[in-house]
Amino acid sequence: MPRYVMVIDQSRCIGCMSCVVACKRENDVPPEQYRTRVVEMVRGEFPRLRTEMRSELCNHCDDPPCVHICPTGASHQEKDGTVQIDRRKCVGCKACITACPYDVRYINEEHGYADKCSFCQHRLKEGKEPACVATCVGRSRIFGDLDDPNSEVSQLLRENSWRVLKPEVGTKPHVYYINQFPRKS
């Protein structure tokens, strides 16, 4: 069984928002709602500035608070490590939304169920990468199987120092960030 993870090379993100739109169209995300977002943080004073670009999405945590809180088992962890939602079982109690430290869940207003990034589960089944990864212009998003030592993600996590978002909440995310800033050569 694969263990799917995403590695985000922040230095390569050029803030083009392609992932955001691709995700919305692939997954029919309603207007004004998002499964992924792009954050730009600029620190410093003119003319000495430094920018961190970062795309964020569901971390598919190993220890997912949204799954723990879910009263019906709608939010669950699959064997491949991804966190998924069984829409049938969702009662729309929103506990998972408040439980998520990463603000990545939302209620689909038309149907009422909680929703979020699925790592494009339907595409994975077809042997395709998630839509955001497939279209990532800067190749900042890299997706793959951590159980395969030869996969690009495994290599990247071996060879780079990485971090996860909000490690202090103990969720053990499966989205890893490398190269917080572009190299200054």
């Binding site: 390569r12 392609s18 169209r25 207007p31 003119f46 670009m53 042997g127 497939a134 793959g144």
Partner: protein, 742 residues
């Protein structure tokens, strides 16, 4: 190109239990649909959300009513402009397709020009009315009294119509308002444009990349940005010269926040540094260039101390950049840029950029500017007769000796207003929102008011469309054929545009509109062969004939969307692959004999630009990664990402003016033109002497329900422009504004 393929293979291999897509990771559209069980259709076509023409794969499914619906767009992995990826705009093409504000039926104006009152009519009526009005103009003033301005694919068909009628008054804003100036400058230097389908910049292999105002990341040309990110990821040195800390500056090793308008001082100083320190490629200069001694002499006076004062940059930074260029030459480049119509001296600035590339030997070198691909394709006109010679010379080049064949839109406008040397009384406006693309929009309006007749062919009711007498609704790129397109990247290739679904409403492909008008104007021999009112397949047949003439398998092209012309890739200079310079001297002209002949400076010189008056800021504008000028502003999926623009103002200036971040302000320019209210972004990311805003917002057309009245229009504030005497380009960064609370 290789990276995404490799990835895909791994994925295909590791996803157990799925339909394993064996050894060909990329499938043709037909094979792909079959692999997924046939409930879905994939159509390979070409994007037109901007003009990079990426290869697109449209996924089409039937909805509950049994209608075909485009559900997803993806980059075509075979196409070198997309490499399997699309930008945000490309992904949002569905938003344009299903925009409820789209023009659905032909319309004829019933009220006054600009008051927005129209009646919907049949195509028959609209075409007849158009022809009647055109004929009236032609009869009274001659065919040259009809002009056409266009951007994008529809232009071809109306160019054909006008040429058939005997008018050469055809102009594209992409020349004088954008990149034409740069093309001319590079032609004067190298005898080639710096690119056609894309700039021939070898970003992914470059060691030092210098960007002058080129805001990659915000100026989102797909493959170029892929390569830029690759360069950043590799750790290439990016030197970004820009008064604003752009996304590209954020990726740069060195950001040079230059005083606006002083780029030439920096360029000439760099040339001086590179020459005087011997950092240039001596062998290359010897072998391929002429005029080196004159250049050396001409730049002598441009010292670092002087430059630092002029540009307000640090001496150490100026030297560091030049040193790095020298150290890593020839695997370095000064990016030629794209929109270069800044200050009216733009040909010379572009020349200076070309010259640095030349003396560093980057033309034809890895990491520099790659050589044009080989693989010529024969001309194809489907056997139409030669166009008649216009009885009056076209006025589109004005009095600018180096104006290009794309023409000068502002000259067409001026002639329309003055009637000299002859009257222009009818306009075709195809796929361009002139009110938002030409400087001094009040003159555009004045010209439109003086016309007898104006036709607009477009997708959406833009400001300009809503001034037309007749509106002819074009269908989007996802509903029509266009092409075949010759794509020149490192290789030569051919791409196709073909409909993913039938045109919505009564919209029609531009080729059909042009062809029907040709027939009705009495020039059926220039119409698309075997076309008729109710046949939208005639263009496909023409494409087949074209493919045959080019020796290309049309069915394969239609299936895969892009075909490479074999052995066309020869990017770098080798003993066997020697560059050809189409200049008078057959060499790189550091000293331009052509400019000299026309009494222009043969080597660029520094001239000061007018500084902002006390208390005013220079207005600088640019692009957003999610919008193409004003064309995409109403697209639902892009609109929601950026509903209005902001004006960037330095923190210190904001404090002085008592303005807070994200409050509404208005701008007033030197001619007392006041903008729409606009949010101010108080930021450290810009110099104190200028303000910046994204172009394309502040739509005046109420029929654009999402975009109407959102944000401010920079073009409205660009009431002045400085014309480049060499090419006729319109320098637009010569306007100044004040800011106050809204």
């Amino acid at each position: 190109m290789a990276f995404s393929r490799r990835n895909f293979l791994k994925l295909a291999a590791m996803s157990a239990g799925s339909t394993l897509i064996a050894d060909t990771p990329f499938l043709s559209t037909r094979a792909r649909a079959e692999a997924e069980g046939g409930n879905v259709r994939y159509v390979a076509t070409s994007c037109e959300m901007c003009f990079w023409k990426c290869g697109v794969i449209a996924k089409v499914q039937k909805n509950k009513k049994g209608e075909d619906v485009v559900v997803k767009l993806e980059g075509n992995p075979f196409h070198p402009q997309s490499n399997g990826k699309l930008c945000a705009r490309g992904q949002a093409g569905i938003g344009q397709l299903y925009d409820e504000d789209r023009l659905k039926k032909p319309m004829i104006r019933t009220g006054e020009r600009g008051d927005g009152q129209y009646k919907e009519v049949s195509w028959e009526e609209a075409l007849d009315y158009t022809v009647e009005k055109l004929k009236a103009v032609v009869d009274k003033y001659g065919p040259h009294a009809v002009a056409m301005m266009s951007h994008g694919s529809p232009g071809d068909y109306f160019t054909n119509l006008l040429m058939a009628m005997g008018s050469g008054n055809i102009a594209f804003p992409s020349f004088a308002q954008c990149k034409g100036i740069r093309d001319v400058a590079w032609e004067l230097t190298f005898g080639h444009k710096p690119g056609s389908s894309c700039e021939r910049v070898d970003l992914k292999n470059s060691k030092v990349i210098v960007l002058f105002g080129t805001h990659l990341g915000e100026n989102m040309h797909n493959s170029q940005n892929q390569e830029f990110a690759e360069a950043v990821g590799r750790g290439a040195k990016i030197i970004c010269v820009d008064p604003r800390y752009s996304t590209a500056a954020a990726k740069a090793s060195l950001w040079l926040p230059i005083k606006p308008g002083t780029d030439m001082a920096l360029l000439l100083t760099w040339i001086n540094l590179i020459i005087s320190n011997g950092w240039y490629d001596k062998e290359y200069v010897e072998q391929y260039t002429v005029g080196f001694e004159e250049l050396k002499e001409a730049v002598k006076g441009y010292t670092v101390e002087w430059c630092a004062k002029e540009t307000e940059l640090h001496e150490a930074d100026i030297i560091e950049a030049a040193k790095d260029l020298g150290r890593y030459a020839p695997n370095v480049m000064i990016h030629p840029g794209r929109h270069v119509a800044w200050y009216g001296d733009d040909t010379q600035r572009s020349r200076a950029m070309a010259i640095i590339n030349a003396i560093l030997g980057s033309w034809g070198r890895e990491g520099g500017i790659w050589l044009p691909p080989k693989g010529k394709l024969a001309g194809f006109n489907d056997g139409i007769p030669e166009y008649p010679i216009p009885d009056e010379d076209p006025i589109i080049k004005g009095n600018y000796p180096f104006a290009g064949g794309e023409g000068l839109t502002q000259v067409v406008r001026d002639v329309t207003i003055t009637g000299k040397p002859y009257p222009i009384k009818a306009w075709f406006v195809c796929g361009t929102n002139l009110m938002k693309s030409l400087p001094a929009p009040e003159l555009t309006r004045k010209a439109i008011d003086s016309l007898d007749f104006i036709v607009a062919v477009d997708l959406l009711p833009t400001d300009t469309v809503m001034m037309a007498d007749v509106i002819l609704p074009e269908c989007t790129y996802l509903e029509r054929h266009d092409g075949l397109f010759k794509i020149e990247t490192r290789e030569t290739g051919v791409a196709i545009r073909q409909p993913a679904i039938e045109p919505m409403g009564e919209s029609k492909p531009a080729w059909w509109i042009g062809s029907e008008l040709c027939k009705r104007m009495g020039h059926p021999e220039y119409a698309v062969k075997d076309s008729s009112m109710d046949d939208l397949q005639a263009w496909e047949k023409r494409m087949r004939r074209q493919a045959k003439a080019w020796g290309i398998d049309f069915d394969k092209l239609a299936d895969e969307g892009y075909i490479t012309i074999p052995d066309s890739e020869a990017p770098y200079i080798t003993p066997e692959n020697q560059p050809v310079f189409k200049t008078p001297s057959k060499k790189i002209e550091l000293f331009s004999s052509e400019l000299d002949e026309k009494h222009f400076d043969p080597i660029p010189k520094y001239e000061k630009v007018e500084p902002p008056p006390e208390g005013m800021y220079r207005l600088v504008y640019g692009r957003s990664p999610v919008h193409t000028f004003s064309r995409t502003i109403n697209d639902q999926w892009l609109w929601e990402l950026q509903k209005e623009n902001q004006v960037w103002l330095n923190t210190k200036e904001a404090a002085r003016l008592g303005l807070k971040d994200n409050q509404y302000v208005v701008l007033e320019n030197q001619d007392k033109v006041v903008s729409n209210k606009v949010l101010v972004k108080v930021t450290e990311r810009i110099r104190q002497d200028c303000v910046y805003m994204v172009h394309g917002f502040g739509q005046n057309s109420k029929r654009l329900t999402r975009a109407y009245n959102k944000g401010a229009d920079d073009q409205q504030l660009i009431t002045r422009y400085k014309v480049d005497p060499i090419t006729g380009g319109t320098g637009m960064r010569v306007n100044f504004v004040t800011i106050k609370e809204a």
